[in-house]
């Protein structure tokens, strides 16, 4: 039996869906905070199958989408310093101040290379010892340990022309900021599966203890998502909020201790700017002093430029689940996937891009 196929079994899915319909007795607004969940919920058709009272909100779950204007401005400034910039592909179309993005800077002559892994960026540095290579570090706890491992390798191998501009972000502090915001009407949280593979269940426990928020770590197959929604509904009905690991085949409750050790050996928590959410204490990852030689903000003296926000873009409200993407005045008019104005439209996993592509 193919295990993954079972998690896509239509009959099983419909059974769970019936169960959700029969147990749901009032409006329930759930938020996912993972771009892969956003896409899976649209692509699988779950969004259209759920009863009307079940409202799906996409929160700040796409690392590219929450990258702040000032951070994009810093990346653009770095790419104009005669360096080789290595980046994940999602980032290069994100508009910074004045609508300029890394792709435009590349067209003007900057050496910007799209890589699949931070390790590929290190390889470029080792192949070109006379050039300085900067990797643009974005991503949550899923990605940060891979970048940390590469920084450690660079140190061990004495590579001197490689550094990372880290704007990595941590999910639990952002969830805390959301849960504490009284304007946000969210009744349950679908917790990100692959972030949880690294951090385990413990960093989320405050959601149930302090905020009485039903919260379920979920996988990405249709059955995973439907089961997780059913668990949230049952918690709501019994009035007992809990944090549940419903993705045990990929998430152990204790997380991945080795990845966490690597991540916190290289990085330390720092305050970070999130698009739409603002400054969240302890929600970023800065490179520790011991690895300062690999910190591009130090090596290339790059600060966060002051910038003006993009006028009219409602990404912030979309990310908090306050409005749906189509309520933004720019949606589908000035802002489309081909010509995005805000980051939520740029990444294929952004709320606005998913809404644009799959809206039925």
């Amino acid at each position: 039996m193919n295990l993954l196929n079972k998690f896509r079994d239509p009959e099983l899915c419909l059974n769970i869906l019936d169960q959700i319909k029969s147990e749901l007795n009032e409006e329930f607004r759930f938020m996912e905070v993972c771009g892969t969940h956003t896409v899976a919920i649209f692509q699988s058709g779950i969004r259209t199958l759920l009863p009307e009272q079940m409202v799906h909100l996409s929160g700040p779950g796409c690392p590219v989408c929450v990258t702040h204007d000032r951070e994009i401005a810093a990346y653009i400034a770095l790419s104009e310093k005669n360096l080789i910039i290595a980046t994940f592909g999602d980032l290069i179309k994100v508009p910074g101040p004045g609508g300029r993005n890394l792709k435009m800077v590349q067209a003007e002559g900057a050496r910007i290379k799209v890589v699949y892994s931070a390790f590929d960026a290190l390889k470029i540095a080792m192949e070109k010892p006379d050039h300085k290579v900067v990797f643009l570090g974005v991503g949550f706890e899923t990605t940060a340990p891979t970048v940390a491992a590469v920084i450690r390798m660079a140190k061990e191998q004495g590579v001197r022309n490689f550094s990372v501009m880290s704007f990595h972000k941590l999910v639990p502090p952002a969830l805390k900021a959301l849960a504490a915001d009284r304007n946000i009407r969210v009744h349950g949280l679908l917790l990100p599966g692959h972030v949880s593979t690294i951090i385990g269940i413990k960093p989320y426990l405050f959601l149930a203890q302090d905020y009485k928020m039903p919260s379920v770590i979920s996988g990405f197959e249709p059955l995973d998502i439907l089961q997780s929604i059913l668990i949230m509904v049952r918690q709501k009905n019994t009035g007992q909020a809990e944090v549940v690991n419903n993705y045990k085949r990929a998430v152990s409750d204790k997380g991945n201790a080795r990845a966490m050790e690597v991540m916190y050996d290289v990085f330390e928590p720092s305050d970070a700017l999130w698009r739409g959410l603002g400054l969240i204490p302890g929600s970023g990852l800065a490179i520790r002093n011991e690895y300062k030689g690999f910190d591009a903000s130090v090596v290339h003296d790059q600060e966060l430029p002051e910038v003006n926000e993009v006028p009219g873009c409602k990404c912030g409200e979309v990310l908090k689940g306050l409005i749906s993407p189509d309520k933004c005045p720019l949606f589908d008019t000035r802002c489309t996937p081909a010509r995005p104005v805000g980051p939520c439209m740029v990444s294929t996993e952004g709320s606005c891009a998913a809404y644009h592509k799959y809206r039925l």
């Binding site: 039996m1 295990l3 993954l4 079972k6 998690f7 099983l12 059974n15 769970i16 169960q19 993972c34 771009g35 892969t36 796409c62 690392p63 590219v64 994940f88 999602d90 699949y116 892994s117 931070a118 390790f119 590929d120 974005v138 991503g139 949550f140 899923t142 990605t143 340990p145 891979t146 491992a149 390798m153 990100p192 692959h194 972030v195 593979t197 690294i198 059955l223 089961q227 419903n246 993705y247 045990k248 085949r249 990929a250 998430v251 152990s252 991945n256 201790a257 080795r258 990845a259 690597v262 990444s347 996993e349």
Partner: protein
């Protein structure tokens, strides 16, 4: 961006595994996986690194839990 794909390990040399899914082959690093992976294991792959071995038994348990709850026939 946290997209991660389960891939099967075909061979391992030092800290690098050859992995495959649906005919697509790739190399992944094993520097941050927390338990030793073996040929034949499925691992979750993200940005060139294996993050974790997929636990088939736990997957089956999750399925059974819900099938029992709904009174459905159990998976073998």
């Amino acid at each position: 961006m946290c997209l991660a794909i389960p891939m099967e390990i075909i061979s391992i040399q030092d800290n690098v595994a050859q992995v495959e899914v649906g005919g697509v082959k790739n190399q992944v690093r094993l520097d941050i996986i927390d338990e030793p992976a073996q040929v034949g294991d499925f691992v979750i792959v993200h940005a060139g690194f294996a993050l974790r071995r997929i636990d088939r038994e736990e997957g089956l348990k999750t399925l059974k839990l819900f099938q029992e709850g709904l009174g459905l026939e159990l998976v073998k």
